[in-house]
């Protein structure tokens, strides 16, 4: 069943076509990788799906309803977004992880927080640390689990492993795979890492100059790329 559909979506900023005529359907509970050269519009596509920006043409549907007709706050609760550069708020790690609960008027679930911390290999003792005491990789993992605490149905990940070492990258990939299998979550991630696409994605969207050139199963995508390189 389709969860997100883009119909001739375009994005024009300062008379520049950032995205043009994008039409595709994303099935529920799939792992989609977005690849393409820098500046091709990958991050803009994620921002559109999260309604951080609006399309200048075409329509985006979420569960067959135009996203412009949704309450943006409710939509963003369902479509979580983790930015490439992790941003932790002032205060402790625990303050950051409790924020989604306070935001949505929920009782803080310490067990859930502890379980997520464990899954991304962050010791519980780090809960009292501030962002200045954490490495970039640790901050990224905290930002990642913070976005999971709003219990999104779709997760948009913008190159979240770009600045991480190999071990942490594999750790996060395994966690994403686990989430996808057990929580029925649809994951759409941007990456420049071909091996990551291979390991993680079920389907690949390849964007170039603001247009979707390839949208295919991962194996077909790599075959197509190989053919074009020959």
């Amino acid at each position: 069943m389709s969860i997100i559909t883009l119909d001739k979506v375009g994005l024009l900023i300062n008379n520049q076509h950032i995205l043009q005529n994008i039409t595709l359907t994303i099935e529920e509970n799939t792992l989609i990788g977005i690849a393409g050269p820098s500046g091709s519009g990958k991050s803009s596509l994620l921002r559109l799906l999260n309604l951080l920006i609006s399309p200048t043409s075409g329509t985006i549907f979420y569960h067959n309803k135009n996203i412009m007709d949704y309450n943006p706050m409710k939509l963003r609760q369902e479509i979580g977004y983790v930015l490439q550069k992790p941003y932790l708020f002032d205060g402790t790690v625990l303050d950051n992880l409790e924020y989604p609960y306070y935001l949505h008027g929920l009782k803080v679930d310490k067990e859930e927080i502890a379980s997520f911390l464990e899954k991304v290999h962050i010791p519980l003792s780090y809960a009292s640390k501030t962002r200045h005491e954490l490495s970039g990789g640790e901050q990224q993992r905290i930002a990642f689990i913070r976005s999971l605490l709003i219990k999104p149905k779709v997760l948009l990940l913008d190159e979240i492993t770009a600045a991480l070492d190999e071990n942490t990258t594999i750790l996060l990939e395994n966690f994403i795979n686990d989430l996808h299998k057990h929580s029925q979550i649809t994951v759409i991630f941007v990456t420049h890492n071909s091996s990551q696409l291979h390991r993680l994605a079920q389907k690949v969207i390849y964007i170039e100059k603001g247009q979707v050139n390839i949208f295919a199963d991962t194996e077909k995508y790599f075959a197509a790329k190989e053919n074009s390189n020959e």
Partner: protein, 249 residues
């Protein structure tokens, strides 16, 4: 004070003029123009106030207050260029702060609604609110630019614009209020404020002057809080679209 004594006080700006000339500060023209303008403006306002006080009409007094608010809102709005509806926000914020503080003072019989009492008091409220709004706007603009990532992350977590901007709003209100609160803390220790000094110089007993000064200090704290609160909670909306998207300036 007789007129000869007043004329002799021009020796003081003359000293400034001499130092500026000797030290090549190039401020001579500004000092001369400034001192002449001060005399002309004060003479004119003195005559105007004498006329208004003489008429003692509540409608005319209210009109003067509206003119004061309008001028203050134009000046405050210049500091908030780029904020949507900044003139309307400034006018409403200053109007509300004056209405509530002046209204309370009249209601408590602290002052009477006569031009000789209302106009100087309103001048203080409007002037201080205007300065506070200028600080508030500059702070809001720089905070929204500097803390862009923080706001977007909060929006991504499902925060409303109000929730995403709440810490910035608080920070901006606080920054606008701090000078008034600091000045209240040091009243009588570091400074004898203008109103109290003026009353004492005019021959009013210090214990009476103190009463007025306490009233003014409390009034200004209230006025600045009201104007900063009103303006910030209206102004922050202009940084977002109706789809709760942060507008990049």
């Amino acid at each position: 004070m007789n007129n000869t004594a007043l004329i002799l006080t021009y020796i003081l700006p003359a000293i400034a003029l001499f130092i500026s000339y000797r030290e090549k500060l190039c401020l001579e023209k500004d000092i001369i123009i400034g001192s002449i303008r001060a005399v002309i403006q004060l003479v004119l306002i003195g005559l105007a106030l004498k006329f208004i006080f003489g008429i003692n009409n509540a409608y005319l007094t209210s009109l003067i207050l509206l003119i004061m608010i309008y001028n203050a809102c134009i000046v405050a709005a210049q500091r908030g260029q780029g904020i949507a509806h900044v003139k309307a926000i400034s006018f409403t914020a200053i109007f509300l702060s004056l209405f509530l503080t002046l209204g309370s003072l009249v209601l408590f019989n602290a002052i009477n609604y006569t031009p000789s009492q209302v106009i100087p008091i309103s001048g203080m409220v409007v002037g201080n609110s205007m300065v506070a709004l200028g600080i508030l706007y500059r702070n809001l603009i720089s905070n929204f630019a500097d803390r862009h990532d923080e706001i977007e992350v909060k929006l991504c977590l499902g925060a409303s614009p109000h929730q995403a901007a709440q810490s910035l709003i608080r920070n901006s209100i606080k920054t606008a209020m701090v000078p008034t609160i600091d000045s209240m803390k040091t009243l009588g220790i570091v400074q004898l404020p203008g109103m109290m000094t003026g009353l004492i110089l005019a021959g009013v007993a210090p214990e009476t002057a103190i009463k007025y000064q306490i009233m003014v200090a409390f009034m200004l704290t209230g006025a600045i809080t009201i104007s900063s609160f009103t303006a910030s909670y209206w102004a922050y909306r202009g940084f977002f679209t109706n789809k709760a998207q942060l507008i990049s300036k």
